[in-house]
Symmetry: C3
Subunit: 196 residues, 3 copies
């Protein structure tokens, strides 16, 4: 059996980790730390009906989330970048030059999604390191699949030794979990080792 003191310790450590952006890893793609979305190549932002502002029945404007949403921690339903189709690209300038070691994709939990499906979630995606923004083809850092039945926050570790440092990282979504019209990316985080 476990003692009361051990239970307190387990609970406290779990809450501390929870408070550390859930996963306790520095996110070099966080907008508030200085990161930014440079380019979404030819991805077309999808005009979902998020946050329709209307007063007394008169619609004022339809707000659609910009790609910046993927660098912002607020992941309440709708606070995502939605692009048309199932293939989308975003080039992110990190808050500092790092040797990338992992990336994380967030989506909403199934329990917060109508009909408990997350068909608009990304499925297969690729991560590249870029040396300059106009570079057509970056260096492949990894090829991953966001699992439909996994945790809403999934971290993917890059393989390979001697990865150089990068300030620009590209996320390429290749497919989604079945939504015929659009794909939603809630959050993209980049982890690594800061340069000395």
């Amino acid at each position: 059996g476990v003692s009361r003191e051990e239970v307190y310790e387990i609970v406290n450590r779990a809450l501390q980790r929870y408070s550390e952006d859930r996963i306790g890893m520095v996110d070099y793609a966080l907008e508030s730390s200085g990161a930014s979305v440079l380019n979404t190549r030819c991805s077309e932002t999808y005009e979902t009906k998020t946050a329709l502002l209307s007063l007394f029945g008169v619609p004022l404007w339809y707000q659609s989330q910009s790609p910046r949403a993927i660098l912002q921690p607020d992941s309440n339903p709708g606070n995502c970048w939605a692009f048309r189709g199932s293939q989308g690209y975003a080039v992110v300038r990190l808050s500092s030059r790092i040797r990338p070691t992992a990336v994380t994709l967030d989506h909403i939990p199934r329990s917060l999604s109508p009909k408990s499906t997350i068909s608009s979630a990304p499925k297969d995606f690729i991560v590249y390191g870029l040396d300059e923004e106009t570079q057509k083809e970056g260096v492949l850092l990894g090829n991953f699949t966001y699992k439909q039945d996994g945790d809403p926050i999934q971290t993917f570790h890059l393989k390979g030794e001697n990865i150089p440092t990068y300030e620009l990282v590209e996320l390429r979504i290749q497919s989604n979990w079945g939504h015929p019209e659009y794909t939603c990316v809630y959050r993209f985080r980049v982890h690594g080792e800061a340069e000395m």
Copy 2:
């Protein structure tokens, strides 16, 4: 006695639920998902001194929260819709047409309220389904009381079979817990089954 593994499992499940908007139920009245406040009938928004912005002693403006606050998850003290008196009305266009099964009201916990009282919290309230916005009297979905000594987040289940689907829901606050001047609604959530 409970094993260490069981404690981890209990803690993890509790944190997962906590991360699912606290209650793990889809909120069809969430602004970021596309819901909006259409109409607050004749409720008068109360000009509380929230977020007085001033620089070097010169007040710039007094911001008062709009009724939209009730569709937004941020429930830090002050982030509520405050209306004069104890009776207020809000018609919400849901993010999609649903068969309503429950509603949730949020208020701040007593521990975060000066003098530990939540006298401005709603007490008795009624929920209606509306077929169109101009409809004077909707269909009664339920009659509830937000408990002063209960959890800050309280969910109320609608009774009745064969409830039709609605896109518009009205919240009518009938009384509060004693505040002589105004009533604060922090959040109103609507749950249900999405149409096929």
Copy 3:
């Protein structure tokens, strides 16, 4: 050994406290409740590269956080007031007149900081009560040190009996944990007893 019911109770109480702004104490310096930063005396806000907004490679503007950030609960990395050097001052008008009993300083956890250092965190600081904004020297309420290895959220209790009530409180940061260029204050909270 502990029973399953006791574990549930411990977990639920811990999560409840977590949801009460983490520490379960009213914050009279919270902007959303009506508090404001009146004056930062001669502190120079440091232009960190936070939230560089750029589209397609063209930087639009560099946003630097205003001192208001210290009265706002969002403490994701970068959401702080950064001032040049290691000495900074802020006069806060509380949301109501109180007898101050404690203050709290928040910083980000080490795990979310590149290289796991929080050298830009405040170290020694003083808290004063002011009777009016133009007052040069307030009444000393306490002299504290934010611990580099402590919890990210640290509460400091004021000593002394018969403390009068104040509506204005001044925070004076005296030193930081070694950053040569700037100091970041994530959040400053003021606790106390509201006047009858």
